[in-house]
Symmetry: D2
Subunit: 396 residues, 4 copies
């Protein structure tokens, strides 16, 4: 374990997708705390006091985005914050402008006018990201990278991901199998920057990058933030199991109207998303739920408000049928932003403690928790939470 200093620690969070709704909400939230607010609702570890765990108020932010507008404009567009909150953080957020996103010129010719830095190769992209990270490190005690970018399509050819060696070769060849999310992850690991992936994209969740993270002893965690419907699933399913109520079917539908929802109208992106949602139930229950359906629909009237409707058909004693229906009127970014802050804080703590590789104790915040090779993820929320608390207290 690394030595944890008792001194106040400042940490920079480098966000891929800094102009998005989740990131701008997280940044505004930290600014409000810095300005004196003491409302810590939604922050799961608000009551946890552990040496080395950086204070929310000691986080600062930077990051990349294809949209170059400053965060005050971005936050206003996302319509997540209240008028009061927007106006109180206006000055701070206006000062924060995303760095140009890194794009390989060979693949990105079509995107015009965006906030993009074209580079000639994958390797050049990694160098550029690494350079940004090094600049960002100036003036803080540590840096972590969090991926909040839009969901990437699921790659068809996974051969280059099987080992670090294969991945390095694919980098050299500018392989199209390697998406931008992996380049950011690679650069972070290379620079010794802990990496958390809040999206369904693969990011670091491939054998090659896990190998890299272990080799460099860099903490990584992911993937796909567990906020609304899936979070509820991992709360309810353990209870059905505890009561031996058999789940005959689980129909889940979601409506949401933000940029994230629009991206999911793209079947390829949706597929990535559904992949991370699918196996949760079967894993918790210990049997296959034959009729488990998940729909996600882009529905503009909701904006960033997301609504989930779950219908669960269960069989109880003597085979009698019952139904549970859950209707969750939630706010996507409001649920996600505080988790992002916690992930950043825990990744930074892991690095101080000298814990590299997959941080399974962060499973509670992810739909598809990354685990070390050969291990199965824990999905039940209450056990995930216990694991995190145990790790924080040093019991795990």
């Amino acid at each position: 374990m690394g030595a944890i200093s008792g001194q106040r620690r400042r940490v920079g969070v480098a966000v891929v997708g800094l102009g998005g709704a989740v990131a701008s909400t997280a940044v505004a939230g930290v600014q409000l705390l810095k300005r004196g607010s003491n409302r810590l609702d939604g922050l799961p570890l608000a009551d946890v006091s552990v040496p080395g765990l950086v204070d929310y108020r000691d986080l600062s932010f930077g990051g990349w985005d294809l949209h170059g507008e400053d965060l005050a404009s971005a936050a206003a567009n996302h319509r997540v914050l209240s008028a009061d909150q927007l106006s109180e953080t206006q000055g701070d957020l206006a000062d924060l402008r995303p760095w140009p996103a890194i794009g390989n010129a060979a693949f990105c010719r079509n995107i015009e006018g965006a906030n993009q830095r074209l580079v000639p190769s994958h390797r050049a992209a990694i160098d550029a990201i690494a350079g940004d990270l090094r600049r960002f490190r100036d003036g803080v005690d540590g840096v972590v990278m969090i991926n909040l970018a839009s969901t990437e399509r699921w790659p068809e050819d996974t051969t280059p991901f099987a080992s670090l060696g294969a991945f390095e070769r694919a980098l050299d060849e500018d392989s199209e199998a390697i998406g931008p999310g992996m380049l950011y992850a690679y650069a972070a690991i290379q620079e010794g920057v802990p990496y958390g992936n809040f999206t369904p994209s693969l990011g670091a969740d491939i054998p090659a990058l896990l190998e890299f993270a272990e080799q460099r002893n860099v903490p990584v965690a992911g993937k796909d933030g567990k906020t609304g419907q899936t979070m509820m699933k991992t709360v309810l399913a353990p209870a059905f199991k505890a009561r031996s109520l058999h789940v005959d079917g689980w129909f889940s539908t979601n409506i949401l109207g933000n940029r994230d929802g629009l991206a999911l109208d793209n079947p390829e992106s949706l597929k990535s998303k559904l992949k991370t949602k699918g196996s949760v139930l079967d894993s918790i229950l210990g049997y296959k739920v034959e009729d488990h359906l998940v729909d996600i629909r882009y529905y503009r009237p909701r904006g960033d408000d997301k609504e989930a409707w779950d219908n669960i058909d269960i069989s109880g004693f003597l085979g009698h049928k019952m139904q549970v229906k859950v209707n969750f009127l939630c706010k996507d970014s409001i649920l996600a932003a505080p988790l992002v802050l916690e992930i950043a804080r825990v990744l930074d703590l892991a690095q101080q403690r000298g814990d590299g590789g997959v941080q399974e104790q962060l499973s509670t915040f992810f739909k598809a928790p990354m685990v070390a090779e050969g291990r199965s993820p824990e999905h039940a929320l209450h056990r995930q939470d216990q694991n995190l608390l145990d790790w924080l207290s040093g019991a795990a």
Copy 2:
């Protein structure tokens, strides 16, 4: 710990309220298992294998009820079982006729024509119950008593309950403060019969009877079976706490149309019920939920089907408001009956192990778990379940 024999063990369950919907469902369920069914849905401990834990198929039933009809008629009236299940268990259930309920002639003059055995005093009532229990013990290896009778009104004068001595004097004086539920509980403890209380009535949950149970080393547990809405509360509230989502209000309403629901239209009985429902949330969350409302309404179209509707208002990050709505279309007796079987099995095992007094490991099955003096009940379902599993495996 007592010695647990490896031999097959047969246990008699003496039910107060044998003709009710829950009891007749439990009896029919066991008969179907005896007849070869292997559907164990709804039985939380179906997969648990622990030495001494009696098999479901080795349970037999007897008990008291003010309605004297046999259990086949009772089950048909309750409309819980399917036509097939009724017809398959018809013969077995028709053989089972409730013993006359015990009534103190001084208080019960008005109830005519019921299946009642009038006795001249509290002491005579206890003797009569004890006699029934001794007769029932014949031919089985153990007996437990489960209270499933209709909810009694909450007593106003609790002075006689403060100590065993005071209670004994109140018995001698035929004090009106002592309800029938306490007489059954007293008789059970006196006879060394483990006692479980699935109703909101006080039963053994008074200092006097806890003292008695400890003195005689008899296992007791209660109170008020946790089946539908409260069960869900103790699943969801820990998750809100884990995510630091502040519960601003929780509105719960229930509609049900069985005998139990009708009884709760009586405000005095309702008060008992609401008492056992009230404190669950605050205990789990660690703060007082200012707007926690619980309604229960008798609504005939549902019969034994019970519907719960919960609306939960929560505040998340930066104080933003969200709502969760849960609509549980459940079947009261179908949820309750298997829990009754588990309580009986665990109480019997506790007695074999020599564990007397309050059995806190059974908390998972109760809305208002009984605890030893000076202790606070655990309400979170997942922790209750863990406690039970630990106790069963001998880890607790």
Copy 3:
């Protein structure tokens, strides 16, 4: 029919309860229209063009309230309007301050510090109200009175209401049976001012005042605005009837957290409310719904947002059971305020047309529509709407 001038007509609306959420919302809405908004959502007659029907922008407001704060403060407290709407109407609303409510000093000694004008008798109260109305009439072409005050308790002694003669005597005797709502109604009729009652209080809905209104040929209408749950009932029930789907039960529960909700926590006020809600279903369906339950609960987290949950049990072909559940997340004042504007406009038009007495064509806006003696109210929304459109077009 009176002669309807083609000239632009300005109408003053004198509101009992001007500082309440509904009134301040209505006033702000008209101000926004005057300031150029052309959003007419929620105004049922926005598309209706009939000679003599006053334009929304030609309405002005005055009225009484026990709370003396100006309408800008009142509106801010009610938290109905958006921040933008509050700020845009701030100036107009700040200029509007309720007149002192009229109170009979014999009954009102306890209310201190309120915005009240104590008078020595019922007759003096009427004179004071009449004086206010005459002053208000200055500078407008017509005046109507709308009752939006908090629900009054239902009177026990209704003898004084049976005829105008009896009522006059009771006025002379300062009878306690006569509540303030009736004094306002009496004063309006006496002054030839059309009177609409949006509350469940009796107001003009007693034989004595109907007689008075007919005698003076003054239009009156009421009672209890039909906004949320009852509106939906009068939409759905006709459909069930058209499809011969038998309604076995209808369970309605409401949660709301505004001043109106708090008043209904008072059982006496609630009784008035439930009276106006009760008979709607049976009247539409043509048979008694055996299990029709209506709950209203004060639940603060909602503020002015009101939530209704309806569960309807229906029997279809061959007696098979089905369920419809309706969850209406509405805003009480947002639904009510535009109806108040329409009632005022139609009452004014009725007066121009020379139509006195009960205005049954306004039934669509009321839970318990007032009808002329011996007639039955129409409750089905689509027929009520047709009746109103027919009356407006002169077809009825």
Copy 4:
């Protein structure tokens, strides 16, 4: 108008898809009435008494189905009827066995073992159907045909449907554009048998067959029975319009597990279905609902029980947003079967009255009401009902 005899009239209903859940439920329902039941729930015209309208008990059934099992077996498989109802109608239903469905050998080679009568051409198919109809007419006073077959795919080439002449030529050429549903419809019209189409398939709803029906003066009606979610839409939307509540979005999802649901998992069939669902809202509201989504998902745990969930986003006064959520737990065949009986009775009455061509008065029973050329369909349920009642009473 034709002469309507006062004598008791017996009518045969020839059903395309006789073995399906709706048909077997309708048949069983009529049998139960014949056997003395007087429960008329779900039959919209049960209280209507009009000369010539055939009594439910005077309907008899025949028809085609690809599945050759008798209706007792079919009904048992569909699991719609209760055990009692199945057993009471067992004898009657066992006597009823579907006629072989007609198939053009040129297109149907793949279907093996089915209950099918292969014929060499479209013309031969029509002849075979016509022969069946003529045989069926024996012993009854009239015959109507109702299409209840599984949804057919929507044809791509509609040229042959534009006129009767073109259609006749396409028949001669065995055009693949002509589906089996059109052949049945053609045969019915040719034989002077009124035709009703309860499915989303085109059936007679093409200019060619409308021309044919008018030429022969045969009543036709359709299409796609309006039972659950769409029925509710046509009830709620007129109310939103009446209250000027602007519909910003309407998200509808359906889960169902019967044969009909499985067929709709086929995207081609689904497209037909969604076509008939789509325009209802816009037509009633008078503007385009930008976000109107309809999902239908095959979800086995429900069987014939169908569940619809609607979320409606509305804007009210001053643009404030509200939501209505409707959850309809319905039974598909239980809602549909009685409508089929009414359609048959009204078509027969139309024929007696001499009314040929499209029967618009039947619009209330259809999602996509057929109308004469150049006319727009009425969708609002209450206006449709009034039109039907007016026609029945002779007022229309």
